[in-house]
């Protein structure tokens, strides 16, 4: 029967065709029980490659990060003789370093915290953690989290030790740790105050708030207060506009901030009064 003679026949034929597909094998791949074959030339794996001798191919030459048009490559590494820790990141962090160098050139004292993470640490608790996790690199995230619980942050020496003991690369662990916001590379100060320095907040008086903090905490941007209780930092724009500059105290964003608030908070922090929900 010609489908254009009988109205509705094409519809029925279509339904019958679709119904027949129920009996055909399904094309779904039941990941993760079944893994799809990956072509040998596939270059989509986000891992660093090793050559036949087991040496890491990546030389941290930064060419990929420099070439990337959208600056999505963030690299970090330690050189083979443990001399220096290099970090190449997106442009926001360039701005921080430019700011830091500009402040140095202006004669202000800027604390150089670069070599803080490199001190040696007691590795016994770390050995215990590794033994408990069985030295498996698949458990890297759990290992890193437990390391942070013990040490308060992830020291470079700890990362190196984990890398040596588990066989995972330092850069892999660095990559894992930098993907998660709850893992940090620097020791937490007892309090951290972060003031946004974007244009919007600056128009709303952020500069004055920052200056108030600097004065009353007795430190400059990026530094610790004299008793080491409070660290003052600046951050990038987060896109929120609440009518006043964005000030973050220990991770809590204040609903409003002004110079008086800055003075009050600075005094409270230095007197070590815990700041709960902002008043």
């Amino acid at each position: 029967m010609r489908t254009d003679r009988v109205p509705g026949l094409a519809l029925v034929k279509g339904m019958w065709f679709a119904f027949r597909q129920v009996l055909r094998p399904k094309v779904t791949v039941q990941y993760p029980e079944v893994l799809n074959d990956i072509a040998p030339r596939h270059r989509g794996r986000l891992i660093l490659l090793y050559d036949e001798a087991g040496t890491l191919k990546c030389e941290t030459c930064f060419q990929c990060a420099a070439a990337c048009p959208i600056e999505c490559i963030d690299m970090g590494g330690v050189d083979t003789r443990n001399r220096y820790h290099v970090h190449w990141g997106p442009a926001e962090q360039y701005a921080e370093r430019r700011e830091e160098s500009a402040m140095r050139r202006s004669g202000r004292p800027v604390p150089d915290r670069t070599f803080d993470p490199f001190g040696s640490i007691d590795l016994a608790p770390l050995d215990a953690i590794l033994a408990a996790e069985g030295y498996r690199p698949r458990r890297s995230l759990a290992i890193l989290e437990r390391t942070q619980e013990v040490y308060g942050h992830l020291p470079v020496a700890a990362l190196q030790h984990v890398a040596h003991q588990t066989g995972a690369g330092y850069s892999e662990l660095y990559g894992i740790a930098s993907s998660y916001p709850h893992l940090r590379f620097e020791p937490p100060g007892s309090h951290v105050v972060r003031v946004c320095r974007c244009t919007q907040c600056a128009l709303l008086g952020g500069g004055r708030v920052l200056a108030a903090f600097c004065e009353h905490l007795g430190t400059d941007v990026g530094g610790l207060s004299p008793d080491g209780a409070v660290r003052l930092e600046t951050t990038d724009c987060h896109g929120e506009s609440s009518g006043s500059p964005r000030v973050e105290v220990d991770g809590e964003i204040l609903p409003r901030s002004s110079v008086e608030d800055a003075v009050r908070i600075a005094a409270a922090l230095r007197a070590n009064v815990p700041q709960g929900q902002a008043a």
């Binding site: 094409a10 519809l11 034929k13 094309v27 072509a39 040998p40 596939h42």
Partner: protein, 407 residues
């Protein structure tokens, strides 16, 4: 209430932003019209209203915002707003090498990215006067036609999905999956292949690719026929697309359309035949042409093009010569100064580039002519007078890809 009409101020002017109270009642904020057309569009008649077919929409083929002025269900006028996917590709191309331009131009037509990669490659080869090895030329044609089939399979799926059918798109993706897996075996990636190189291609055919290709070629024809039965004669589909969005010859030529929409309107223009490049002069294939110019004709044309592409792949595989797959080039490529215009036939139409080189290793200017950009103009001409539901059918049948439109 509003700023003085004599002074034209942009909405980005902070003063205007602060003065204008933002209300929740404006789907389209009150705009100081800058041109006559804007003034005509943004004046509401009686009973008309603005509806945003916003950038986030399930069927605008990417991020395209269309401001519709509708009267009930009927569209009175429309104003497309482009630029949501603009990435500054042409500018970025000027800052890198000619080789970098390949991976920069990849995501322009992401559904069939071999064509967009080929733009800087062919332009550089023309400027250098380079002769590409024969084997590389054949591999290029093979890969181009595979991409064409993959893109057309997706087109059928999108057209059905925009009209409400849930099944054909999954069949289209099944087809595309197979093609894309074999291209991953060849190039290393499934979507943005980065396979074309100036002087050839990156890497020879390998066993995995050829075995997958052979497997697939045995099944391809039957699959396509089967999928076509689901939609070709389906009364609902035919009633939705027949007679819809008719573009006549003169309008199509005036709008500089190309590709299937042009050929469906009766103009037998195919760049592979009109300005032959690569191996196409030696291959036998037909250029399907239809004269009705409606959405149904465009749909049928895409199906016929798939069949022609299968023919081409057959011939290319039989003729594949031996030899190198890439010409010898210096490490630092200094392209001699000059200008070059190259044109390809991509699944959407004539994909062209105009490259100006100033003798250094960076392009001085790389202008990309994208077919979807010109095909999309037809939407503005065709849609007024139809219903809201029809704009989907028309847009889908023109097969736009926003990556290329916004560059």
């Amino acid at each position: 209430m509003r700023t003085e009409p004599t002074r034209i101020r942009s909405l980005d002017d902070p003063e205007v932003l602060v003065q204008t109270p933002a209300t929740i009642y404006d789907a389209v904020p009150p705009l100081t019209p800058r041109t006559e057309r804007e003034a005509e569009f943004y004046t509401l008649g009686d009973g008309e209203m603005f509806v945003n077919l916003g950038p986030q929409h399930p069927s605008t083929h990417g991020v395209l915002r269309v401001v519709l002025k509708i009267d009930g269900e009927r569209i009175v006028d429309l104003d497309p707003v482009l630029g949501y996917l603009h990435r500054g590709v042409e500018k970025i191309c000027e800052h890198g090498d000619w080789h970098h331009a390949i991976s920069n131009c990849d995501p322009l037509e992401y559904a069939a990215s071999m064509f967009s990669e080929a733009l800087p490659v062919l332009a550089a080869e023309k400027l250098l006067g380079l002769e590409v090895p024969r084997r590389a030329e054949h591999i290029r044609v093979l890969v181009w036609e595979l991409n064409r089939i993959a893109s057309h399979a997706l087109f059928i799926g999108w057209l059905a999905l925009d009209l409400g059918g849930l099944t054909p798109i999954l069949y289209g993706f099944t087809e595309r999956d197979e093609i894309v897996e074999m291209l991953a075996a060849l190039t290393g990636q499934k979507l943005l292949f980065n396979y074309m190189r100036i002087g050839g291609v990156n890497g020879d055919l390998n066993h995995e690719f050829l075995s997958r290709l052979g497997d697939w070629m045995g099944r391809a024809g039957k699959h396509i026929d089967g999928q076509a039965t689901l939609m070709n004669e389906n009364e609902i589909f035919v009633n939705r697309t027949k007679g819809l969005g008719v573009i006549d010859r003169e309008t199509a030529l005036r709008l500089a359309m190309s590709g299937p929409p042009l050929r469906a309107s009766g103009v037998p223009y195919d760049v592979r035949r009109a300005h032959p490049y690569s191996v196409y002069p030696e291959l036998e294939f037909d250029v399907p042409v239809r004269s009705e110019g409606d959405s149904y004709a465009r749909y049928l044309l895409h199906i016929e093009e798939i069949k022609q592409s299968l023919r081409i792949i057959d011939q290319v595989l039989q003729r594949m010569p031996d030899g190198p797959v890439m010409a010898k080039l210096p490490r630092l490529l200094r392209v001699p100064p000059g200008r070059a215009y190259i044109a390809l036939e991509s699944p959407r139409g004539q994909y062209a580039a105009y490259a100006i080189s100033d003798g250094t290793d960076q392009p001085f200017r790389f202008r990309i002519h994208d077919p979807s950009f010109f095909n999309l103009q037809a939407v503005g001409l065709l849609t007024p007078g139809h219903l809201v539901a029809d704009i989907m059918a028309i847009m889908a049948s023109l097969d736009p890809i926003m990556g290329g439109i916004d560059k």
